[in-house]
């Protein structure tokens, strides 16, 4: 049988950066093929070449045995290639049906065509067990269902080769399982799937072959059955990865943060936080596990002063945090920072940095009042000195303080944020999704920093949707679901199944 896709010596450079160098491998018809690599390894560039966003500088691309030059995504779709992006390309206030029809309306009048498409969609949904109502509005659907709409769209456009870019990043364990079921059905029908991910567990679970990329090159191509997670990780990073990072024995100190009966009700009357309470002590990492969107973000926002709770009490080092008597949280984060609360926000680009500011300017972001002289003016010498010290200590690359931070990779941006918050010497550190969109090598560096901070006696509250990360860092785990705390356990009791059930809302009993 002809391979579905064959890359032959594909090279692509962006200026001096060689994004792909002599990439050659084949993807078999009817296989689930994993492509893994760190950020910047060249996976996305390669897929963009396959999907017609970029053209290779040299090399050949064979689809079904024939050499093709794919110039636009329309040509890719015509060749039966479909792509499900990490960020969904859906119009939220339109129905599933209209989203699918968008771009292939089939004439000036919609009504007649709509009936046909609807019938076809229902048929596809049954055949692939997609469980999506074509007439539902996209904004009413869960993230998992929205992803199924994307898949539905590709099947409707008769995609034979489906590219999925980090499809499980936003899914719960259960949603991931059902996605994989759909992918297996897909495979049974003889279709080909290219799965781009950095989650090694998923690669092991579902793929047939894996291609590992590093700095634009293929560094390994193996059958999944003949490899292991450790081997893949080592190939990806190019050096052995420590699976267990060193940490001091667990000796928690005095309580730093005491949260009691914390409630948050939004304008529509939905309870986002429901009677949340827990204690965090010095020198301990408490991880809040849960599927994203279950109140963790709101909890972090309240604890960092970015948002006011509806009711409840929070004590920090024995003093009540000043939520009461305020109409809005404007300026409150500055107060909290002065008290000694550091915050690594989960949405780095939205909250944590100003993309258009230089790296140096971002190293004082949030602490701008600590670096001014008595005239209110910045002491640029001191800022520059401090910045170069931080860039070196936290190994930020490139070490150029004048570069716009938006030009740094996600991992290096995150290092800047963590360096900034750590250097303020907080008593409490709020850390949201510290390694989201960050490559393995950097994950290790970030985890090492957080553990060092813990060993120095800082209380750390970690929110993560990655159970691997929770396991690697936490001393204690608090599980949240639907805005409530559904369970608390020590790290020795770590048990994926139990945590999964708690995350799904099964209350402690």
């Amino acid at each position: 049988m002809q391979p579905a896709v064959e890359f032959r010596k594909i090279s692509k450079a962006f200026g001096a950066v060689q994004a792909n160098a002599d990439v050659s491998f084949t993807i078999n018809q009817g296989a689930i093929h994993g492509v893994i690599g760190e950020n910047g390894a060249g996976k996305s560039t390669l897929m963009s070449i396959l999907y017609g966003y970029y053209r290779a500088d040299s090399g050949q691309l064979l689809i079904g045995g024939q050499e093709r030059a794919i110039r636009t995504s329309h040509e890719a779709i015509a060749l039966g290639i479909g792509m499900v992006h990490q960020h969904f390309m859906l119009v939220e206030n339109m129905t599933v049906l209209d989203n699918v029809m968008l771009g292939s309306e089939g004439g000036f009048k919609l009504a007649a065509h709509r009936k046909q498409v609807e019938a076809k969609l229902r048929e596809i949904c049954t055949r692939y067990r997609l469980d999506v109502d074509p007439l539902a509005f996209v904004h009413d659907l869960s993230v998992g269902a929205q992803q199924r709409v994307e898949i539905l769209k590709q099947i409707y456009r008769s995609a034979n080769i489906l590219i999925l870019d980090e499809p499980t990043a936003v899914l719960t364990a259960q949603e991931t399982a059902s996605l994989f079921e759909i992918l297996r059905l897909f495979k049974e029908q003889g279709k080909t799937i290219i799965l781009i991910t950095h989650k090694l567990g998923e690669i092991m679970e579902i793929t047939d072959q894996v291609t590992v990329m590093r700095s634009g090159r293929v560094v390994g191509a193996v059958d999944t059955v003949s490899t292991s997670k450790e081997q893949l990780a080592n190939m990806m990073v190019g050096r052995p990865i420590q699976s267990e990072l060193p940490r001091a024995p667990f000796k928690p100190g005095a309580p730093v943060l005491q949260v009691q009966n914390l409630n948050l009700v939004d304008a529509q009357g939905v309870k986002l936080l429901d009677d949340v309470g827990f204690t965090l002590r010095a020198g301990e990492i408490v991880a809040i596990a849960g599927v994203s969107g279950n109140g963790q973000s709101q909890l972090m926002e309240i604890l960092s002063g970015m948002r006011l709770p509806t009711s409840g009490r929070v004590d920090f080092l024995g003093r009540q945090l000043p939520y009461a008597g305020r109409a809005h949280a404007d300026g409150l984060p500055a107060t909290f920072r002065k008290l000694g609360i550091g915050h690594v926000p989960e949405d780095r680009l939205r909250d944590g940095v100003i993309k258009d500011f230089s790296v140096m300017q971002n190293t004082v972001f949030g602490y701008q009042d600590r670096v001014r002289n008595r005239w209110g003016l910045f002491d640029f010498n001191a800022i520059a000195k401090r910045c170069s010290h931080l860039l070196e200590a936290f190994d930020v690359r490139p070490q150029n303080p004048d570069l716009r931070i938006g030009l740094l990779s996600g991992g290096n941006q995150q290092k800047v944020v963590i360096a900034r918050e750590v250097s303020a010497q907080p008593k409490l550190m709020l850390v949201g999704q510290p390694t989201r969109g960050v490559d393995i090598g950097t994950i290790e560096a970030i985890h090492t920093q957080l553990l060092r901070l813990r060993d120095e006696g800082v209380a750390i509250l970690l929110v993560s949707v990655e159970l691997e990360e929770v396991r690697a860092l936490a001393d204690r785990i608090v599980v949240m679901s639907g805005g409530r705390i559904t369970g608390e356990l020590n790290i020795e009791e770590f048990d994926t199944t139990r945590i999964g059930l708690l995350m799904g809302g099964m209350h402690k009993s």
């Binding site: 962006f14 002063g305 809005h328 404007d330 500055a334 909250d351 100003i354 972001f365 949030g366 701008q368």
Partner: protein, 361 residues
Amino acid sequence: MKKTELPRWATAFVLPLLNLVSALLVAALAIHLLGESPLESLAILINSAIINPEGLSYTLFYASTFIFTGLAVSIAMKGGLFNIGAEGQMYVGGLGLTVALLTLDHTLPAWLLVPAAMVGSALFGAAWAFLPGYLQARRGSHVVVTTIMFNFIAADMMNFIIVKYLIPEGQQNPASRVFSDAAALPQLNTWFPVLGDTPLNISFLIAIAALVIYGVMVWRSSWGYQLRATGLNQHAAHYAGVSISRMVIVAMLVSGALAGLAAVNSVMGSTHYLSLNFPAGAGFVGIAIALMGRQHPVGIFLSSVLFGALIQGGFDLSLEKPNIPQETFIFIQGLIILFCGAMEHFYGPAVLKLINLGRKG
């Protein structure tokens, strides 16, 4: 190395220059259609606005007003606010100045009158900008809409106040009484006679000082850092502890105060009385200047001088070439706003291609 974005020198100089040349080319076409020679007209314009010392001093006189309105729009823009209301704020600022002078111009000495008038104009200008700022900060009413409306309100309110209260008894001209001589700004030609008969006065120097202070405040102070953060990303600014609503209000107050200060040059430097519609569009020119000067002090200065030159040169041009109406200036101004504002990055891709070609070759 292939670049994916333009280097700073290109965005700061090449693009504005290309945009300006484009605007002038279209203007040249219009002048050609009016039956006049564009080159000759340009020569007249340059000669009368730049080369002739008296003309140049008029250019700088107009520029002094524009620097203030340009600064007003720029500082709001740095905070992410598009203040369309500099015109109205300048107008109301003129009222503040007039109130101060009408009460004090026979009692205070000259060196105190000027600061008093400046305080009055800044306060009134700021007050006029406060409500749009407050509504934006606390109620989410878009500042563009409210400031446009406030321009209309200011125009009618000033009309009412001037006609009802300020016209001296027995006068027909809709204007206040003439201020005492003590309230006239010291003119620069007393020190530099070469400037000739010109209203150019110390407010030009005050404007230069304002540019410097603006530069320091926006780029070197903690406040300016927070202002720019707010303008670029409100979520992040909130995270960093900036009180967004307070920052929005303060930015609008400063913006309104600067617009109000623009009245000082116009009223105290030239007419010496408050007249109907004295801003004559200077507030709107401020928008063009802020866009074209990219809110940078040097850029604001250069574009203010350019607009001053266009007014001065355009005036002489219409005298010498009867076919070219005086409104041509407004036409060119509109073109510059179109090319420098709305189509700011029009030439970006082409320039980028050229730069990359140049690097390869």
